[in-house]
Symmetry: C2
């Protein structure tokens, strides 16, 4: 009994890098969201606050560009955070159409807390690897991400408006 001619690569999914990445990425995101919940934050809020903590006074459009979300979505995100007293809309000095965004002291402390949650989550996620292996994994992932043309720190899950082709990977 010979091989079926139509027999192709029957690579099990769990040996495919794309499946492993997708599976683990989804898991990591869910898990992070869960551990962040006690702070009343979702991962997207964390990203927003983090970006804003790097440079306050940004407009909603600037922040949206930096995070890779559409400005329409940004309105709702800022609404939520402003309602909780974490972000403040002030008048933009140079452009009367735009809002200048600022963090409250509470939000600044919250970002620190969320960073600690993220670090704990990271440690837990790769706990099966040695310190050397952890560094190696990060380095390999960074190279794959760079080759894919992914912007550092910009999450495609927040991305909006895919004009068909999702980026381009030489």
């Amino acid at each position: 009994m010979r091989q079926t001619p139509t027999e192709a690569a029957l690579t099990p999914l769990e040996a495919r890098p794309s499946f492993l990445l997708s599976q683990l990425g989804r898991y990591a995101a869910e898990r992070f969201a869960h551990q962040l919940r006690p702070l009343g934050l979702q991962p997207r809020h964390f990203g927003l606050l983090l970006q804003l903590s790097r440079a306050e006074g940004q407009s909603q459009q600037q922040l949206a560009d930096g995070l890779g979300v559409h400005r329409n979505v940004m309105v709702g995100l800022i609404d939520e955070l402003e309602a909780r007293g974490l972000v403040e809309r002030r008048r933009h000095p140079g452009d009367r159409r735009a809002n200048a965004l600022y963090l409250s002291p509470t939000a600044q402390r919250l970002v620190q807390q969320a960073e600690r949650v993220a670090s704990a989550h990271d440690r837990q996620l790769v706990a099966a690897l040695s310190a050397d292996e952890q560094r190696l994994l990060i380095s390999l992932l960074q190279r794959v991400a760079a080759h894919a043309g992914l912007h550092a720190g910009v999450h495609p899950g927040l991305q909006t408006t895919h004009d068909g082709e999702p980026h381009a990977a030489g």
Copy 2:
């Protein structure tokens, strides 16, 4: 000027394994979906057909369990594939409540094609790495996935009914 006491780990996102995994996982999934589109399939269809090609005659419930989706969702998936003549519902020999699912010859060829698309996608994704590094990456990811308690080949993105805690990672 000394360090601010509230200063915490300001690890950039692009150095966090969880962020890299989530970012790359999302990218890989989108990209795979895009490359699969010419076949008229979504990744979930591919997973279904693949699972069914391993063992035909399964019930919808069995297949749902194997893929980690709810049986309600399975109805719609099978509906779509049956309408395209890829999957057939037959009467289950042992249980008159259940359907026994079978692939058409067209579907069997389509699975082969989809596997080739997946392999090409994988090669492209990790093209920045040497062959040794590719194997290393897969091995590291598999260990992380095993430690997270992820079932081999079951994608959390298809999962349904999270009772709060997403799995458990020692």
